[in-house]
């Protein structure tokens, strides 16, 4: 049975209410979409089967994202609560949490609760302002629990400070789920006048669950970083499979373009080691192929790596666990060092950009500190300085650009992708807002790969709603399905989320909106490549 309050009225102290489900979302609260979706009616989020309800925690909002097994008895519950509190305490340790100690402390201690963050959050807005998704709700809960536990007078003064939150298993389980109702897009932090980062606090919360309790979504941990470190890629691609994929790519390039290209692998001393999100190999091999065509025609010295971990640039640790992040990034650094390349170029993967270049800037040290660069800047040099020749008429259809949060807001790479699109796409138009003020695709921080139970329902209706509305607005003048349109998303995770959004909203059939990366458009425009590299076939 649900709590009696409406989703818009939940209070922080309700988190420990002993009810089966704290909040019941109503799709009628979700904001309407622009034309031609004015009359679009969302189906309710799929209810969980009795079996699933019995097996996994779902008491926050009836959504299962993390799949936390239900404790068997009260003793187990108590142990988990204790572990949660000890993990929370470790965030305040310089040794255990040096990676984020200062930002964490500053954001925990200095929020003035002005609520400016709320208006920046697409999830809060798209949920119809459900309180549990307000950026302040989660952060305030963390602060109240931490203050009560840590302050010598925390318990005594709880009436004054509002710290009287009961830390029960219900509280902890709901906090765990809450940690996965934010895409870490950091739009809230960007709008905070104080500079407090409630998005970062969400990530710190995820760390407590993973690094202390061993709880994380399977897609990120067991099937994510663990598989990456042991098999070689979170996709499950091992070295043997990689070789097959590269062989297929060579054949496909020849079929599509007539070009015979041998993909270089483990070429010692190459100028460039390019690292792709291996998800591209399976879902969008044309991205891998387009990079190969571009680099070969530009005459670059480049290579791929077949080393364990080295052929997959993802680092899901960035989403939930500093230890796993460190392991993956140090492995990436070691591979680049061993190959003796001059630089590592990040393919079209937003979080890999941030993991390698920004956050990773303080992980890659000494001889392993090989320079890292974005493929977007490299492509800008090739296209805008006419090192490859393009014919923009080949891309004469409406194109809009999705800005991956990790590339723009967290790294400041804003103009190169725009300069390229202005050069090769005569009908390029911006979304609004864009650049560093963009909205997340709704699949950030690992959500795009969290595909089980009813989490995708939530992702389509709520976390991705704002982005879909932005896409429709960008094409408002040409929304007619007789006109093919292209959303350029230079990031694998964003591309996956946009693919799922377009599928859920039946957008290919209704509006002929297609999605893809940036390099595919570049190659489609290159005069040295047979016309028609880009295929209007939704997949």
């Amino acid at each position: 049975m649900s709590a009696s309050r409406k989703p818009q009225e939940t209070r922080v102290q309700d988190i420990c209410l002993p009810c089966e489900q704290l909040v019941e979302l109503d799709v009628k609260d979700i904001p309407k979409l622009p034309p031609p979706y004015e009359n679009w009616e969302d189906q309710p989020i799929s209810p969980l089967s009795e079996e699933k309800r019995a097996a996994a925690e779902h008491s926050l909002d009836g959504i299962i994202g993390m799949r936390i097994p239900k404790p068997k008895n009260d003793q187990e519950k108590e142990e988990l609560v204790k572990k949660f509190l000890s993990g929370l305490e470790r965030l305040f340790s310089k040794e255990d949490n040096w990676t984020f100690f200062q930002p964490f402390l500053l954001s925990m201690e200095n929020c003035v609760k002005c609520n400016t963050c709320a208006e920046a959050c697409p999830i809060f807005e798209s949920s119809g302002r459900a309180e549990i998704y307000r950026p302040l709700f989660r952060a305030d809960l963390m602060r109240r629990i931490a203050q009560k536990q840590r302050s010598p007078l925390g318990g005594l003064l709880s009436g004054l400070t509002g710290n009287g939150i009961k830390v029960t298993w219900e509280t902890v389980a709901r906090l765990a789920d809450l940690a996965y109702r934010c895409t870490l897009c950091r739009r809230c932090a960007q709008n905070c006048p104080m500079g407090v980062d409630n998005g970062m606090l969400t990530r710190e919360l995820r760390k407590v669950f993973s690094q202390e309790l061993g709880l994380a979504p399977e897609e990120l941990h067991a099937d994510g970083t663990v598989k990456h470190l042991t098999v070689g890629s979170s996709t499950g691609i091992n070295k043997h499979a990689l070789m097959d994929i590269l062989e297929f790519a060579e054949e496909d390039i020849e079929d599509r373009t007539g070009l015979k290209i041998k993909l270089p692998i483990d070429k010692q001393g190459a100028d460039i080691l390019i690292m792709h999100n291996a998800g591209e190999f399976l879902s969008w091999p044309e991205n891998l192929e387009a990079f190969a065509i571009l680099f070969e025609i530009a005459g670059l010295s480049w290579t791929l790596s077949s080393d364990l971990v080295g052929y997959d640039s993802v680092n899901y640790g960035l989403f939930y666990d500093d230890v796993q992040y460190t392991r993956v990034t140090l492995r990436h650094a070691e591979i680049a060092r061993k190959l003796g390349v001059k630089k590592v170029v990040m393919g079209e993967c937003g979080h890999a950009h941030k993991a390698f270049m920004a956050v990773g800037d303080r992980m890659w040290i000494e001889e392993a500190n090989i320079p890292r660069e974005s493929a977007l800047t490299l492509m800008e040099d090739l296209v805008c300085n006419e090192k490859v020749m393009v014919d923009p008429r080949r891309n004469d259809f409406p194109v809009t650009l999705h800005d991956p949060c990790n590339v723009v807001r967290s790294m400041g790479i804003v103009q190169p992708q725009r300069n390229i699109l202005k050069k090769i796409c005569p009908q390029f138009r911006e979304m609004h807002p864009h650049g560093v003020h963009n909205y997340c695709c709704g699949g950030g921080s690992g959500f795009a790969i969290m595909q089980s139970n009813n989490f995708p329902d939530w992702r389509m209706r709520i976390s991705g709603r704002k982005k879909f509305a932005q896409i429709l607005e960008a094409f408002r003048d040409c929304i007619d399905p007789s006109i093919n349109k292209y959303v350029c998303a230079p990031c694998s995770n964003c591309k996956g989320q946009i693919r799922d959004l377009l599928t859920y909203y039946d957008a290919w059939e209704r509006t002929r909106i297609m999605y893809g990366g940036l390099v595919e458009l570049v190659v489609n425009a290159m005069v040295d490549v047979k016309e028609g590299f880009h295929e209007w076939e939704f997949h």
């Binding site: 984020f100 042991t230 392991r327 303080r362």
Partner: protein
């Protein structure tokens, strides 16, 4: 009066001690991973749209151009006019700006009073032409500050009560803080209008504190003002009202902190130290007690997760 003076000394000492302790706490934290957020104000030629040096081909070979002037300009706009609140939360700004600006004027007023207290201790008097001019300035600053702060605090209190979104997240202490400030500024306004219209009292009182001399016998109402003011000073660092300390670090050490880590540089030295820290995390995939460097390079062992 001596009791009031002793109280003021204690409160000033507590304020300074707690502020310095907070500064030391934030300034001595270990290096952390980069977590900047664009726009970064000192990115020369790029801060307007939020760009960074990462937009340059082979960026590590290019000179890093830092635009300190723009950084100072942004800091000034943020501190003096609360630019961020104005841009992202204009309804709040209507009350927050007069509140903060009023506080700045009070600080300038007290700073001026502090200087005057030294001058008067040295024999300068209000009866001179310069003295009269300063008297007007002091009164304008003092009254403007007190009035703006009072109005701002009233507005913020009203907003906290009237706006359901904010009320839902407000603890009693947040109301108490605003009421405390209202009481202090309200009492000060009433006292001066009634018994000290030219605001001479605070100057004379500060002079007695600065010179460690016995204060004159002030009217009881003024003594109440001095007591309340002193208590507020000592109370501020205990609360979130001391967010002005953290804001510097939030902007300079996190949001705008984009210093690159070249090989063999200072940052690298700090990172090597941090990699040596032992970790006590208990997760099944972590070798508890080993250093970050050891755990971070033991990817093979991840297969053998703890039971």
């Amino acid at each position: 009066m001596l009791v009031v003076q002793i109280l003021s000394y204690v409160c000033v000492a507590l304020f300074l001690t707690m502020v310095i302790a907070k500064v030391i706490k934030y300034a001595t934290t270990p290096i952390h991973l980069r977590w900047e957020l664009y726009p970064v104000a000192h990115e020369k030629g790029r801060s307007g749209y939020g760009g960074s040096i990462f937009e340059e081909l082979d960026w590590w070979t290019k000179p890093r151009e830092v635009d300190r002037l723009n950084e100072y300009k942004e800091m000034f706009l943020e501190i003096a006019f609360l630019k961020g609140v104005f841009k992202h939360n204009p309804r709040l700004w209507v009350f927050s700006f007069p509140f903060h600006f009023g506080l700045y004027l009070i600080i300038v007023w007290l700073g001026l009073a502090f200087i005057l207290s030294i001058l008067f201790a040295a024999g300068v008097a209000f009866s001179t032409g310069f003295g009269k001019f300063v008297q007007v300035i002091v009164a304008v600053l003092g009254y403007s500050g007190l009035i703006l702060t009072t109005l701002g605090a009233l507005g913020l209190l009203f907003r906290r009560i009237a706006n359901a979104d904010i009320r839902r997240y407000s603890a009693p202490i947040e109301y108490i803080n605003l009421v405390f400030i209202l009481v202090v500024t309200g009492v000060a306004l009433a006292v001066h209008l009634a018994v000290d219209p030219w605001l001479h009292g605070p100057i004379a009182y500060l002079a007695s504190l600065v010179t460690f001399s016995k204060a004159e016998a002030f009217p009881a109402a003024l003594q109440v003002e001095f007591v309340l003011g002193s208590l507020l000073l000592a109370y501020i660092p205990l609360t979130r009202m001391a967010h002005f300390i953290a804001k510097y670090f939030l902007y300079h050490d996190v949001r705008w902190s984009d210093d690159p880590n070249p090989r063999g540089g200072k940052i690298e030295g700090k990172l090597k130290q941090a990699f040596g820290y032992p970790m006590q995390w208990q997760g099944p995939h972590i070798q508890t007690g080993k250093s970050w460097a050891e755990v971070g390079t033991s990817f093979e062992e991840v297969k053998e997760e703890k039971k």
